[in-house]
């Protein structure tokens, strides 16, 4: 097993780790937003919306993420018009609020889209479970107090639903981080890709995969710790819910 990797390779792995983190954060944000909407849609009044939502969940939950990623990158890319593809593949510097962001590669975009679509189903289910877990009595009491349905939702149901959903939601965020490893199949240079590349060039299998494993586990551990902090002290405290 011997010596450690040269700095050139450690840098490759760290660069891959950064890509994993950025991809995961982007996917977490987008899937939370969309998952919230999906959770609402599952409870909508109109049958058409609930049916569409159920169909979305069925298709994206029961097929493998790897196949979905391959579809988005190799399949859907051929469906987009040529002009769009050229635009997506030319770097346009994004200047937002004084910061310049590097233009994401198409691999990143496809990975993000694929991860988001997949994770949205699970996040949506957690939101739905959270909302279902709030007792009906709460809504009725709020109505008795004269709150509008929207105010009931925003001040009574939602905080409690979020508190119920938080641990499984954190679990889904951890899944997003782990699932980001599949984007190596579409050429995104994230952590698993980088560790495989280092292994191919240096043959130091244990060092390369060991470094990647440690980094993934550290990220998951940080998420777990964050969950603990939020549950113990943070935003929800011990009182939560309606005042």
């Amino acid at each position: 097993m011997g010596n450690w990797l040269e700095p050139k390779y450690t840098q490759l792995i760290l660069h891959g780790f950064m890509t994993t983190l950025v991809l995961s954060v982007c996917a977490i944000v987008s899937s939370t937003a969309l998952g919230f909407l999906l959770g609402l849609a599952r409870h909508a009044r109109r049958r058409a919306i609930t049916r569409a939502a159920a169909l979305y969940v069925l298709t994206f939950r029961n097929s493998p993420l790897l196949v979905q990623l391959l579809f988005w990158y190799f399949g859907a890319a051929t469906l987009l018009p040529q002009a769009w593809m050229s635009w997506l593949n030319t770097p346009h510097p994004l200047a937002v609020g004084g910061l310049t962001f590097a233009w994401p590669s198409f691999e990143f975009v496809a990975g993000w889209v694929g991860l988001t679509c997949y994770a949205t189903t699970f996040v949506g289910e957690e939101f739905r479970a959270g909302m279902q877990g709030v007792p009906r009595g709460q809504q009725q009491a709020a109505a008795a107090l004269g709150l509008t349905p929207f105010a009931t939702f925003r001040y009574v149901v939602l905080p409690q639903a979020l508190r119920i959903a938080l641990p499984p939601l954190a679990g889904q965020y951890m899944n997003i981080v782990k699932n980001s490893s599949l984007t190596m199949a579409i050429g995104l240079a994230e952590l698993s890709y980088a560790s495989r590349q280092v292994d191919t060039e240096t043959f130091k299998t244990f060092q390369a995969f060991g470094a990647a494993t440690v980094l993934y586990i550290a990220t998951i551990a940080v998420l777990e710790a964050a969950l603990l902090v939020v549950r113990r002290g943070g935003a929800y405290g011990r009182h939560g819910g309606a005042r």
Binding site: S63, P64, L65, L70, F71, G75, L182, S192, T213, Y216
Partner: protein
């Protein structure tokens, strides 16, 4: 070209995708996916039961170690674990381990880790009162587990098992990365050869997985709907214990 002619033209490819090069070669394609899923599901169920029971029954340092190991398997991406088993297993066991066995092992380990938590949660959901009642009837801890807690707990755990098995069916697609000729691998092979039908091929692949997973969910749903007399053996044991206890007290002469 008529539908029949088109089917005739596509039949060899379809057969290849569903069965691999069987019987001239090893089993592959969707058939291998199903076989892998079944074997991994059984192994992970066993591992999960063992792990869950161990988590429920142990205390102290051993419990902590168990939690750490199980936590490790839940924190590592499946892909990385497949790489590890691929490289490590032949080295550890000093025998030639085919790629298929490595993938099944990795899937069983991860499935077992997740199921351990479900089993532990299910056992806890049954309630301490059940265990205490069983113990007070004269059963040992293991008998209480086997005849009272597990049968009731399994019903509660069943959805988690189904969810984990559905995830397992999807995770078999990762065997593609290490060259196991399962369905996704063969589909990408065909896509590489044909080059101009990626949308159709990947949609077809997703559809087949959809069918597989949905069938599993539906089948287990139907199985669970029938009322099952799970408690019968436990009830018989409990009844016998009560009778023998009363007889023993009677013989000894109650005070």
């Amino acid at each position: 070209m008529s539908v029949l002619e088109q089917l005739h033209e596509w039949w060899p490819t379809l057969r290849y995708l569903l069965l691999g090069s069987f019987p001239q070669g090893p089993l592959g394609g969707a058939a291998l996916t199903v076989a892998m899923s079944i074997v991994s599901a059984l192994l992970s169920a066993l591992a999960g039961l063992a792990g869950g029971i161990a988590l429920a029954m142990t205390r102290g340092a051993l419990h902590f170690l168990l939690v750490a190991v199980i936590g490790l398997f839940r924190a590592i991406p499946v892909l990385l674990l497949i790489f590890w088993t691929f490289f490590l297993m032949p080295m550890l066991l000093h025998i030639d381990v085919p790629g298929l066995a490595c993938v099944i092992c990795a899937l069983a380990l991860i499935g077992g880790a997740y199921l351990s938590h479900s089993v532990q949660a299910g056992l806890a959901a049954v309630g301490a009162a059940q265990q205490q009642a069983a113990l007070s009837l004269g059963m040992t801890r293991w008998q209480a587990l086997r005849y009272v807690q597990l049968p009731q707990g399994l019903r509660i755990m069943a959805p988690s098992f189904v969810n984990q098995w559905v995830t397992l069916i999807k995770d078999t697609s990762l065997a593609y990365i290490v060259g196991v000729p399962e369905f996704t691998f063969l589909a990408t092979q065909v896509n590489n050869r044909l080059m101009v039908y990626p949308v159709q091929i990947f949609l077809f692949v997703a559809f087949v997985y959809l069918v597989l997973c949905s069938t599993l969910q539906w089948a287990v749903g139907r199985l669970l709907r029938k009322p099952r007399r799970i408690g019968s053996k436990g009830a018989a044991l409990a009844a016998r214990a009560v009778v023998e206890h009363r007889a023993a007290r009677h013989d000894a002469g109650s005070a």
